[in-house]
Subunit: 468 residues, 2 copies
């Protein structure tokens, strides 16, 4: 495996032959900025940053990297949390920010084709201006880029209603580690002509090829929405509430958070007050589409059923678009409000039906082993995806805290393994989850992944050391 | 490549060691039945038929096949039209009909887990009995099996609304050509832990591994539906009609057929009359969900818009569930009504926006080269999927007709290539489309497919000679 230890002699001169001067940066500011992502654990140490303007540029870069045995790291908005877009080992970073053009809207196909470096929010706005919806949405919308969304199969806020990024990719152009340009699926709806490589590239974190162009599907704009916030004495009936609503209404979100999370949100946002007259250990936020008056009545009657059956103890329901937005603040501000407590983050998933059992078992394990730690849970119940945040006790040094958390990881991932869950629900594997891949995937699968890596990238120059 | 020429010495005795007597058939009736699929072009010639009862049986079969260098062909309902499930070369057929158990319904996850040999319709009925919908549906529902649906990524009647089989597979158990049992995705909604092999197996036609168990998602039952049949003087405005309806209503089907098709349906079904007072060269069938009274008004006003703009010349709208069923008969009976004219079938796709242009160009090519052939078109406009049926002129012998059609194939697939379409929309590649794969996939892609094949099936024992 090419580890990037030391810069191959004359390598930069080779890249200078194929790119113009403004497409190569080697100043220390740039190396520092483009060599890391939001995971922040890894010290950036790239050799140079390259800025391709076209798929052909990317192809030339890969050919040159093969010739000079140079390791390449792809870089988009660098909002990833798993270290997949970090260059810590003298790699050359390939940054897609100059490939930022939206190329076509096809009104009949309802597709938008764009280069990999288009920012998520720009694509969302472009769709909105054409009266359609690109439904993939998440907190990093203003910085993240489409190529990275594909490479990590991004999830986010609307998965329960619209699925993951994978579901919206109708065509993909990639440059493989062999330097071949592949045009995958050509935006066909039905295509049974051989293996579907498009789905192999979605979520492959730049280890098989670099995404250069993406065609996404778009859909009708969402209808009016209603949001409920419900208070629960315990987590026993979370799944009962879920199926009560899900069986009758088109849900767009079903979120859970604890009062531990809510407390920090309210501390940080004095304009927000407790949403219910009493405090509860658990809160559920439900959002559903609300196309007409009868659906509002449906929502109310389902809420009443949950109260009567004591699934929930209290709740509020939004009466306006302004309230919809305000109710969401309790959930949206959690990550940011926890950040000053240096949370050790985990992003895991289990089958929806196992969520509460998994939470209970994990809580027990953590309480027993680490009675002094505050564990702030939140997540998307409707996707089986939980974000577990362990907050740093003030008296612990950062170093000591991280060391303890890494021991916690082993406990946590053993529980995930027992529940046949995933060690990474939506953040990818990158560097942070690499030691734990075997808790979710069998040795045979990992061996096959390595084989596929070698097939698409025989010199192992694309994002080496990531995933496995 | 193991071609299966001649039976490896002592091979059957090895299989007799691992299976009971009733799990092996070698009588000529069985060899004839289990050695072919609905494509009917290929002469069945298997050595034996094996009937595994469990995943472990399948694993033992693969291990034994590796040891004895035996070629294996998977067999489900054998309703495929591309010859992927045919054994013409002394292969051993692995038939899944004894693996026909539905294993679990999970009400919270909304998943059904079953063995590969469950018949599609049984799964549909099982879902219905639990008040949920398994939405994959197609003409061969009564015979086709779930494992085959996965292996060919089946499409069918509801793709425009519900997508392909791929979208409904939440977990997959396979036995690879290495003899490993892989449990893929474990029914997780979000899972970013490495490459998603589930999607590699969907549509791989038994060349990488055999599907042994499938977990599918199910959803809320469909609402009431309305069907329109519209008559058009030409195909110029087909896509205008499509976008007029699609932009406003949740479509569940958008089908096209010519009067050439309709004529044969009415001939074959005397109980059916012309649907409109005048004959038109093209007909569109639209189905949309119709949850409330206001949506019926929407449908009517969209129909009026299409009339006013002269997109369509006439039309009828269903007033009852009985009419919905009757209107569908015009479309459903096409295939069967054409069958006595020995149609040479093609199942191709292009981007939706290119459908009418592609039809026009193909019509011109065919008319010029084969002025005496009747070409009966029908298809799913909403998926870009067209079924092109060339009817045999009475005076031509079958042999001569097929020979001419194979020349037609080259013209047709060259047009497909020009339109960046697929030589197989939903029937798979198998044997019939194998000579034409390169019209839809690049040499680099085909080389990578071969590499993946070799990785999952190093001895090339699984369905050899299919796809490539």
């Amino acid at each position: 495996l090419l580890k990037g230890n030391g810069v191959p002699f004359g390598m930069l001169a080779e890249f200078e032959k194929i790119l113009s001067k403004d497409q190569i940066k080697t100043d220390s500011d740039s190396l520092n900025i483009y060599g890391k992502d939001w995971s922040q654990y890894y010290k950036p140490n790239p050799t140079a940053i390259l800025f391709p303007r076209s798929t052909e540029d990317v192809q030339k870069i890969v050919h040159t990297a093969r010739k000079t045995k140079t390791a390449l790291v792809p870089s988009g908005g660098r909002t990833g949390l798993s270290g997949a877009a970090t260059a810590t080992n003298k790699e050359v970073v390939v940054c897609f920010e100059k490939m930022n053009k939206i190329l076509e809207y096809n009104q009949i196909d309802r597709t938008i084709t764009c280069q990999a470096g288009v920012v998520t929010q720009e694509l969302q706005n472009y769709a909105r201006n054409h009266n359609v919806l690109f439904p993939i949405d998440f907190a990093a919308r203003g910085t993240s880029m489409i190529g990275g969304n594909v490479a990590t199969n991004v999830g986010g806020l609307n998965v329960i209603r619209y699925g993951l990024m994978r579901n919206w990719v109708s065509g993909l152009q990639v440059v493989t580690g062999r330097g071949d340009i592949l045009n995958l699926n050509n935006s066909l709806v039905k295509n049974a002509a051989g293996y579907d490589f498009r789905h192999l590239f979605v979520g492959s974190e730049g280890t098989l090829g670099f995404v250069t162009e993406v065609t996404v599907n778009v859909t009708n704009p969402t209808q009016q929405r209603t949001v409920l916030i419900l208070g629960l004495n315990n987590s026993d009936h979370v799944l009962d509430v879920y199926s009560t609503f899900r069986d009758k209404l088109p849900l767009t979100a079903f979120e859970i958070f604890t009062h531990d999370c809510l407390k920090y949100v309210i501390e940080n946002h004095p304009e927000l007050t407790e949403p219910l007259s009493t405090q509860y250990p658990y809160y559920i936020l439900i959002e559903c589409e609300n196309p007409n008056e009868s659906s509002v009545n449906d929502i109310l009657s389902l809420f009443e059923i949950c109260l009567e059956k004591s699934f929930v103890q209290d709740g509020v329901i939004s009466q306006s678009e302004v309230q919809v937005k305000n109710f969401w603040k309790y959930r949206d501000h959690i990550s940011e409000s926890l950040s000053k407590y240096h949370p050790y983050k985990n992003d895991v998933s289990v089958r929806i039906s196992k969520v509460t059992e998994f939470m209970r078992e994990t809580n027990n394990v953590l309480k027993k082993e680490y009675p002094d730690f505050v564990v702030a849970w939140f997540g998307h119940i409707g996707d089986g995806n939980l974000h577990i945040n362990i907050l740093k006790p003030r008296e612990l040094s950062m170093e000591e805290f991280i060391k303890i958390c890494q021991r916690v990881d082993h406990l946590l991932y053993s529980t995930i393994q027992k529940f046949q869950g995933s060690v990474s629900a939506e953040h990818g594997v990158g560097l942070t989850k690499k030691p734990f891949l075997s808790f979710s995937r069998s040795p045979q699968e990992i061996e096959l992944m390595r084989g596929i890596k070698k097939l698409f990238d025989p010199d192992l120059i694309l994002n080496p050391g990531k995933i496995f």
